[in-house]
C-alpha cells in the first residue's frame, strides 16, 4: 500500500562542509544515508529520519542539520498534523499505535505553576558551602515510637527497626529493564548507583547473574506480573523488592517484549526461551484485591527472611489516595507512584496520552490521605514520572514524597534525545536496543560518569534551594507545603495540592 504519511524531519547538508567521510552512513540505523553505486555521493532519504540527531552530533565537519519537516497540511488547530498522521498510519496498518517515552501532550505542568520559598530577614538562610546539609534519605517503614536507652555516653535504640534503604541523595533510578534497555545502559545505571550511593531498579527483566554480587546491594529488583527472572537468589541478592502493579505510561495494561528482542542473554536473565514474546499480563493473576496484594508482599518478605523492604509501584490514577492507603495497610514499606508523564520503552499511544493523573496531584493527595489516617510513617513515598530537574525533585518532596525516581532524565544523560522510537529497538544511542553494534556505542563507564555528574549537579542544586529556605536536611522538607506557592492555579487545584497561592 502506498503510504500517505508526510515526513517527520528533513535533513539539510551544508555541501561545502561535507567531505563525504561516510560517518553519517555508519551512524544512522534508520537508513537515511546511503552511498550511491560508485561510492562517490552520499544519498539522503529524509523520509526515514526520526530526528534522533545522532548524525548531527557525530558528523566531524558539522555539515548536517536535522529539523522538523516544514511542509504541512492546511493549518488546523483541531485536526493537527499529528492527528492526521495517526489516522493515516492506522488506516494503513490496522493496529494499536505504539510509542516510546512519556507523554508529550501539552497538559498543564503543575511543577511549572509552583514556586519555592526562600528566607529573608526573619529567619536566616543557610549557606550549604559552609554548613552541613543533609540529603541522606531512609526509605522504608518507620516505627510508631522510638524507645532509647542512655547508658553513660552511649545512646541505644531499644525499638526494633524495620529494614530501610539508605541513599545519599533522594534520587533513585526508576525501573528500566534489561531487555527494554541495553546491557550497557543497564550496567551504567548500576555502576552510577554504586558510585554515588543511590539505588537502581531493575525493572522486570531480571538481574543478570554476573551482576548480582557486585550490584545486588544497590539493586531494587522488580517482581512484576510476568515474574520474569524471579528466583530466590534474585530476591535475596537485592537491597529491596518492588512489586510492579502499574506504570504511568500505561496504567492498567501489561507489557509485551517482542520475541525478536529476546536474545540469548535476555532469555537467560528472564529465564524464558529465546525468541518467545515476553508477555506481562495486565494484572498479577494472584492479585485481584488488597488482601491478595498483602499476600504477595508477605510472600516476598518470607522469601527474603524479612530482611528487605518491599516496594509497591502503581500508576497515578483517579483514586490513588484510597489505593495507596490500602497498599500501606497491605504491608508495603515503600509506595512508588508513577505519574502520567512516566516514560516507557513501548506503550500504546492512546494509553500513554490519555490515562492517569499528574504526579504532583497524586503525591499531594496520597501524602494528605496517609497523614489524615495517621499512617504516613508506615511507608515512604517515591514520586516518579516526569521529574526533569532538581527543582522538580524539591517540589515533589515538599508536596509529600520522600524521594524521586528518575528514568527519562537518566537516559537523556546517557545520550537519549527523546525521539520516541524506543519500541523499534534501533536506538542510535545504544540505549534502547539489543543490537550489539548499536549497544556498543554506549560505554558503560562513560555512561556511569555522566549519571554520577547529573546526580552530583542536582544534589548541589537541592542543597542550594534547601539552604535558601533555611532548611538543613531534606527530611525537614518532606510534606512542607508552606514552602510552596502556586501561580496561575485555580482554587480547586491549590486545594488538591494543599498549597497557597502566591502572595497569600
Amino acid at each position: 500500500m502506498k503510504s500517505h504519511l508526510l515526513p517527520d524531519f528533513v535533513v539539510e547538508r551544508i555541501e561545502e562542509r561535507c567531505n563525504k567521510c561516510g560517518v553519517c552512513v555508519k551512524q544512522c540505523p534508520w537508513g537515511v544515508y546511503s552511498w550511491n553505486d560508485d561510492k562517490t555521493e552520499i544519498l539522503i532519504d529524509y523520509t526515514k529520519c526520526v530526528g534522533c540527531q545522532r548524525c548531527v552530533v557525530y558528523c566531524p565537519n558539522k555539515a548536517l542539520i536535522v529539523r522538523p519537516y516544514h511542509g504541512s497540511y492546511r493549518p488546523n488547530s483541531y485536526w493537527t498534523k499529528e492527528v492526521i498522521s495517526d489516522i493515516k498510519k492506522q488506516a494503513e496498518q490496522g493496529g494499536i499505535l505504539l510509542v516510546g517515552t512519556g507523554s508529550d501532550r501539552p497538559y498543564k505542568v503543575y511543577f511549572d505553576h509552583i514556586l519555592l520559598n526562600a528566607s529573608q530577614v526573619t529567619n536566616p538562610s543557610i549557606d550549604p558551602l559552609r554548613e552541613p546539609m543533609e540529603l541522606r534519605t531512609f526509605l522504608g517503614r518507620k516505627p510508631d515510637r522510638l524507645e532509647i536507652e542512655i547508658k553513660d555516653d552511649d545512646v541505644e535504640i531499644k525499638t526494633e527497626l524495620y529494614p530501610n534503604l539508605v541513599v545519599e541523595t533522594p534520587i533513585l533510578f526508576a525501573g528500566m529493564s534489561y531487555g527494554a534497555i541495553s546491557k550497557n545502559a543497564f550496567l551504567a545505571l548500576a555502576m552510577a548507583s554504586k558510585e554515588f550511593g543511590t539505588m537502581f531498579c531493575t525493572g522486570e527483566g531480571g538481574l543478570p547473574k554476573d551482576m548480582r554480587e557486585e550490584y545486588g546491594p544497590v539493586a531494587i529488583v522488580q517482581c512484576a506480573s510476568g515474574r520474569f527472572g524471579v528466583d530466590p537468589e534474585y530476591l535475596n541478592c537485592a537491597a529491596a523488592i518492588e512489586i510492579k502493579i502499574g506504570q504511568g505510561a500505561k496504567p492498567g495494561i501489561g507489557g509485551h517484549l517482542p520475541g525478536e528482542k529476546v536474545t540469548a542473554e535476555i532469555s537467560a536473565t528472564r529465564m524464558i526461551p529465546e525468541g518467545t514474546d515476553a508477555l506481562s499480563p495486565a494484572p498479577h493473576h494472584d492479585i485481584y484485591s488488597i488482601e491478595d496484594l498483602s499476600m504477595l508482599i508477605y510472600a516476598l518478605k518470607e522469601a527474603t527472611n524479612y530482611e528487605k523492604p518491599v516496594f509497591v509501584k502503581i500508576a497515578a490514577v483517579h483514586n490513588v489516595a484510597a489505593i495507596a492507603s490500602g497498599i500501606v495497610r497491605a504491608g508495603a514499606d515503600v509506595i512508588v507512584i508513577d505519574g502520567f508523564r512516566g516514560g516507557t520503552g513501548a506503550s500504546p499511544k492512546v494509553m500513554r496520552d490519555h490515562v492517569g493523573i499528574p504526579i504532583e496531584m497524586a503525591i499531594a493527595a496520597v501524602d494528605q490521605r496517609l497523614r489524615e489516617e495517621g499512617i504516613r510513617h508506615k511507608c515512604s513515598i517515591i514520586a516518579s514520572g516526569g521529574i526533569r530537574c532538581s527543582a522538580d525533585v524539591v517540589k515533589a518532596i515538599a508536596l509529600g514524597a520522600d524521594a524521586v525516581y528518575i528514568g527519562t532524565a537518566a537516559l537523556i544523560a546517557l545520550g537519549c534525545t527523546m525521539c520516541q522510537k524506543c519500541y523499534t529497538g534501533k536506538c542510535a544511542w545504544g540505549i534502547c536496543t539489543q543490537d550489539p553494534n548499536l549497544a556498543k556505542r554506549l560505554n558503560p563507564k562513560e555512561g556511569a560518569k555522566r549519571l554520577v555528574n547529573l546526580l552530583r549537579a542536582w544534589s548541589l542544586e537541592i542543597k542550594d534551594m534547601l539552604g535558601g529556605m533555611g532548611i538543613n536536611a531534606i527530611e525537614s522538607l518532606r510534606g512542607n507545603r508552606e514552602h510552596l506557592r502556586g501561580i496561575g492555579l485555580e482554587e480547586w487545584e491549590l486545594k488538591v495540592l494543599g498549597i497557597k497561592g502566591a502572595g497569600e
Partner: protein, 278 residues
Amino acid sequence: MRFVDSFLEGVRPVEELLKYAKIDDGVAEIDARELKHKELNDLMRECVVRGARKLILRNVCGQRYIGTRLYFNPGVKVEIVIYGTPGNDLGAFLAGHRIVVYGNAQDGVGNTMDSGEIIVHGRAGDVVAMAMRGGKIFIRDSVGYRTAIHMKEYMERVPVLVVGGSAQDFLGEYMAGGRVVLLGLNLKNGKHKSHYIGTGMHGGIIYLRGSVESYQLGKEVGIVEMEQEDWKFLEGVVEEFCGHFGKEINVDKDEILGGKFMKLVPVTKRPYGKIYAY
C-alpha cells in the same frame, strides 16, 4: 481507623516457640496448632538452622507460606511433611525443598516456585503453579481456577504439574512453558469443564486425559497429535503419580495410560505480534 498488621502483630520471639518443636537426629516435629503464620515459619527456619533436615508439621490449619522462608545459600534441602490444611502460597518461591501434604491445600500452591517438589494428598485451590519455573507438583484430586498461569521454562528447567482430577476455568492462561497434565480421574463422563484453556498461551504443553470441546479452548491454542516422546513423558509422570497416590485412590499406571489423551500446544510463540502499528 486503627492500623492492624494482622500478619506481624503478636508474633512471639522464636525462643518462646521452641517449646512447640521437638528436634531429634535431624528430624523436627512441630505442633502448629497455636502458631500464627509467621511463627510457624520462624520456627521451621530455626529448626533447619539447628540442623533439622526433615520437618513434620502437625495440626496445620491455614498457615501461609510454608517452605518459602527456607532459602539458604548454599542450598540446603529439606523435606517437609504436613498434616492438616496448609494456607495460601504453600511453597511460594520454593527453593529445592520437598513438601508432602496429607490433606487439602489452599490457593497459590507453588506460586513462582523455583525448584523442588510438592505432593498434595487431596485437592488444591486457585492459582496453583502460577509462574512456576521449575520442579514438580502432584495434586491427587482437582484444582481450582487460574491454574498454571504464566508457567514458564528455560533450557533444562521444565516445571511439571500433574493433577489427578480436573481444573476450573482459565487453565494455562499466558502459559510460557512447562508441562501440565490433567488426568481426569474423577470425571463422570470424561469431559473437562474448564473454559478459556490456554488463552494467551505461547509456550509449554497441556495434556488432558479425557476430552474438551474446541469452544473451551483459548484462541491461542491448538490440538495436536500425541507423539512418541509425549507418551514417554506421560509414562514417567504417571508412574510417579501412582507411586504417590495409586494405593489411596486405587488406580494403576496402565489403566491411566490406557485412556484417551489430548495434547494442547500454542499456535504461535508470538500470539500478539500483529496487533501494533509501527
